[in-house]
């Protein structure tokens, strides 16, 4: 792409900055794709799309429309695909599609014009929140292929997704139930508080009784409908002998409710229905906000991981037929084109060349394969076409097995919160029972009085209400910095981490070859020649060389009798000189104890320069590792050769003892799970077992988009830059929780002692409790801005 123009003009269609300007109808576009979409839209009178775009805000960043047009959607017509992906109900196919290109309500409007142009569409709903398109199509009249190609013409690449209807439905019902519980709690709280204001304002006589009865009446739905979850969780945690925050809440509700109803029956105007219903309302709402924030971040990633739809050419008697990978079965012959990832385990039938086996070794240098060799899913081919025979279907391929076997075995980590609150609640229960016990013979009434005061004082407001808010805020700040939290308690584990294990290729380094040193002749002529020769091949060496020459503004020159011999290199005539680029054999480099790929360039059969290529270290790796070294033991785990790992280790200041080379994915997992407090960060599929078994597992952006569900934390941007931000946020969250707990401990112990001595009436306790929550809330807000400032400084 040419260097960007000084004034950043925006493409009229997709709004992205323009590099190579295309003009049409007096408007400016960024690519031919956008121009063609614009033409199509204005042709069928849909140019309102552009008016609507102005007044709607972009939920996601748009993408240019150029590579959308040429997909061939015939695969969707096969019977086997249809039943697998769509539900057939009385003659109507119901299916769900995901598209990265839906980014604002103008897209939703445009997609809704599809039924006008495509026949047979019964129902179509677009949701821009999770960019899903729901379509009901009449079996006989309509065809999905027409629908998808029409959408592609308008710049929307739709991918069918296999969402299990059940899980989605259940999740939606869950969300609705929570909302209803909050609504009921809100109404009842409002009314009960009104009745209490009346009693504080001095109502007396039969109205006082009326209000008492009404408050009791309004508390019933709060107790039995809104707080059902608290009792359920308490029951489960008792059954599974595991502590949960809901126990103290449930106990406070039961005791408060019992005490309140006893007084109401005896006509005493002394009940805590308003305090308890406010407690239930606040806790339910803060948890709803927490779930909402977490779902927003995760739903996008989860959808991405569902996209395993890749289309392959299957060999039938007559010709090659496009078919969806999920409909393959063992024995079929499929074509593996260059630069494509194999979707299932297979054996090579025909053709030879180089394949990247990084899935196993994590080392991205392509390796020569020959006919009959077994290949695993996830491998990428670098040479021209291979014909392979399917051994295992994608669903049970090596890669799929690996992800399945890794289901969440999470260490039973006792968060700080749970450990202290267990102690706190235990103590308050004991003291409440003690008071009751000692006061039993003489004044049970006084005893109950104080016991309830104790329980109200130790109400878990700090734990139940404020902690979810702290975590909610952390999730929000991290999400802005491109860090998605799949396990919220991972944040609490980070400060306990002792060792950090880094994967080398793709995490510490760029994961792709780039020019290290260039010795010998280095002039414009060489650059042009190398660039023109290497431009077409997709071999990693070729891409590295052409990238490097391009940076030295090489110009492409016409190449005569170009010839690429697999694995050795390329040769050809460039402006009457005969050029060859050959990879010198690997053994040569071995004696120097330094495995790296060296390439030499011959001009008219005479070697003029040798280039050494290696996997360069990311810029930020050194600074981040040196910063983390002060606090953690840094180790590198990689499937690559030992020497490479040592080299990278030395570059970032790690002794060789901490670098482990040639480690298989399984043994990586073993090393990590041995030492308890280990954090594993990696980007490759081979790191997956280690990430899921580690104390804290972080996956960075890489080829493993299909399994991110199983890691604790996912970095949206490559490399380890966000690790620093993550650790800062985690430390801050833990400090806040510590302060919360500390404060809660102090005021509870104080409260319990005073209450047992009878100085605190339940009324005062009821007032004191929200005060403490307010104090904690202000503390939370104060820390929150502190954290914002610190993060802004970091990034």
């Amino acid at each position: 792409m040419a260097t960007p123009q000084p004034v950043q003009a925006k493409c009229y269609h997709c709004g992205l900055p323009i590099f190579s300007e295309q003009k049409y109808d007096g408007k400016v576009f960024c690519c031919s794709g956008c121009v063609s979409v614009f033409q199509i839209l204005s042709y069928n009178g849909l140019e309102n799309y552009y008016q609507i775009k102005q007044s709607s805000k972009n939920i996601k960043t748009p993408s240019p429309a150029f590579e959308k047009q040429e997909n061939d959607y015939s695969y969707i017509e096969q019977e086997s695909f249809l039943e697998k992906f769509f539900i057939l109900e009385d003659g109507i196919y119901k299916g769900m599609f995901f598209s990265k290109d839906i980014h604002c309500s103008a897209c939703a409007w445009l997609l809704n014009q599809l039924p006008q142009t495509v026949s047979g569409v019964e129902f179509l709903r677009v949701s821009i929140e999770n960019s899903i398109l729901e379509v009901h199509l009449k079996r006989d009249k309509g065809s999905f292929r027409a629908l998808l190609s029409q959408a592609a013409k308008w710049g929307y690449h739709l991918e069918p997704i296999l969402t299990n209807e059940e899980a989605n439905k259940r999740k939606k019902e869950q969300k609705k139930l929570k909302l209803k519980k909050i609504a009921v709690a809100a109404v009842c709280t409002g009314n009960i508080m009104m009745f209490s204001v009346a009693s504080y304002a001095g109502v007396s006589g039969d109205f006082q009784q009326l209000f008492l009865k009404l408050s009791a009446l309004f508390f019933i739905p709060v107790l039995f409908y809104s707080s059902r979850d608290f009792f359920l969780n308490t029951f489960n945690s008792f059954k599974s002998k595991q502590f949960s925050i809901d126990i103290p809440i449930a106990i406070a509700l039961i005791m408060g409710g019992f005490y309140g109803y006893k007084n109401v029956i005896s006509g005493q105007d002394l009940h805590y229905f308003d305090t308890l219903s406010v407690l239930v309302f606040f806790i339910l709402s803060s948890r709803y906000i927490l779930d909402w924030a977490r779902d927003k971040g995760q739903s996008q990633q989860e959808l991405l991981s569902l996209l395993n739809s890749s289309i392959v050419q299957k060999k039938t008697e007559t010709s090659w037929q496009p078919v969806h990978s999920s409909t393959l079965n063992p024995g079929d012959i499929i074509l593996l084109k260059s630069n494509e990832i194999l979707c299932c385990d297979a054996t090579l039938q025909k053709g030879e060349g180089y394949i990247d086996k990084s899935i196993l070794t994590g080392e991205s240098l392509p390796i020569k394969v020959k006919v009959g060799e077994a290949l695993l899913s996830g491998m990428k081919s670098y040479s021209s076409e291979f014909e392979v025979q399917v051994q295992k279907t994608p669903a049970d391929s090596y890669f799929a097995q690996m992800t399945k076997s890794v289901i969440d075995q999470h260490s039973p980590f006792q968060g700080l919160l749970e450990r202290y609150s267990k102690f706190l609640i235990f103590f308050s229960l004991i003291s409440a029972l003690a008071i009751l016990f000692f006061s039993y013979p003489q004044d049970l009434q006084e005893g109950q009085f104080r016991a309830l005061a104790v329980l109200i004082i130790t109400c878990p407001c700090a734990l139940g209400l404020i902690s979810p808010l702290i975590i909610y805020n952390a999730i929000k700040t991290l999400a802005q910095k491109g860090i998605i939290l799949f396990q919220t308690d991972a944040l609490e584990r980070i400060p306990h981490v002792k060792k950090i294990y880094f994967d080398k290729t793709g995490t510490l380094t760029y994961g792709k070859l780039s020019v290290g040193s260039w010795s010998g002749v280095k002039n414009q002529e060489v650059f042009n020649a190398v660039y023109s020769l290497e431009k077409f091949s997709i071999h990693p060496v070729a891409t590295a060389l052409s990238q490097y020459c391009l940076e030295n503004d090489a110009v492409e020159i016409e190449v005569g009798s170009f010839q690429e011999n697999l694995g050795q290199g390329v040769q050809g005539w460039v402006d009457e000189k005969f050029w060859e680029i050959k990879a010198s054999n690997l053994q040569l480099a071995k004696e120097k104890e330094e495995i790296s790929l060296t390439v030499s360039i011959y001009k008219n059969r005479e070697r003029i320069s040798t280039i050494e290529l290696n996997d360069k270290l990311r810029e930020e790796s050194y600074s981040i590792v040196s910063k983390l070294k002060k606090r953690f033991q840094i180790k590198i785990l990689s499937g690559d050769k030992k020497q490479n790992v040592y080299k990278v280790g030395s570059q970032i200041g790690i002794t060789e003892s901490d670098c482990y080379g040639e480690v298989s994915p399984e043994s990586k997992a073993v090393i990590v799970s041995e030492n308890y407090h280990a954090l594993m960060i990696g980007d490759g599929i081979n790191d997956l077992p280690a990430i899921s078994k580690s104390f804290v597992g972080i996956a960075t952006k890489g080829q493993m988009k299909n399994a991110i569900k199983h890691c604790d934390i996912y970095f949206l941007n490559e490399g380890i830059g966000s690790l620093d931000v993550l650790i800062n946020v985690a430390d801050d969250v833990n400090k806040q929780i510590k302060v919360n707990i500390g404060f809660a401990l102090v005021y509870n112990l104080l409260g319990i002692t005073l209450a047992t001595m009878g100085h605190i009436t339940p009324l005062f306790a009821a007032i004191f409790m929200p005060v403490t929550s307010l104090v904690l809330l202000t503390h939370y807000i104060y820390r929150n801005n502190l954290l914002e400032k610190k993060i802004r400084v970091l990034t």
Partner: protein
């Protein structure tokens, strides 16, 4: 002040009706995809014609 014996049930009755309405709205998935629904009123068909004329 015994009018309250009449007024309170009426108000509670009203409150219950609105609770029922609230339940129905949640069940009827009225709160899915709020951003889209907020913007949709801007470009419903009728105003589209107006949008064109303003150009």
């Amino acid at each position: 002040m015994n009018i309250l014996i009449f007024l309170i049930p009426i108000s509670i009755l009203l409150g219950l009706t609105f609770v029922a309405l609230c339940f129905w709205s949640i069940n009827n998935e009225q709160y899915e995809d709020l951003d889209l629904n907020a913007e949709k009123i801007i470009f419903d068909d009728e105003s589209l014609r107006r949008l064109n004329d303003d150009k």
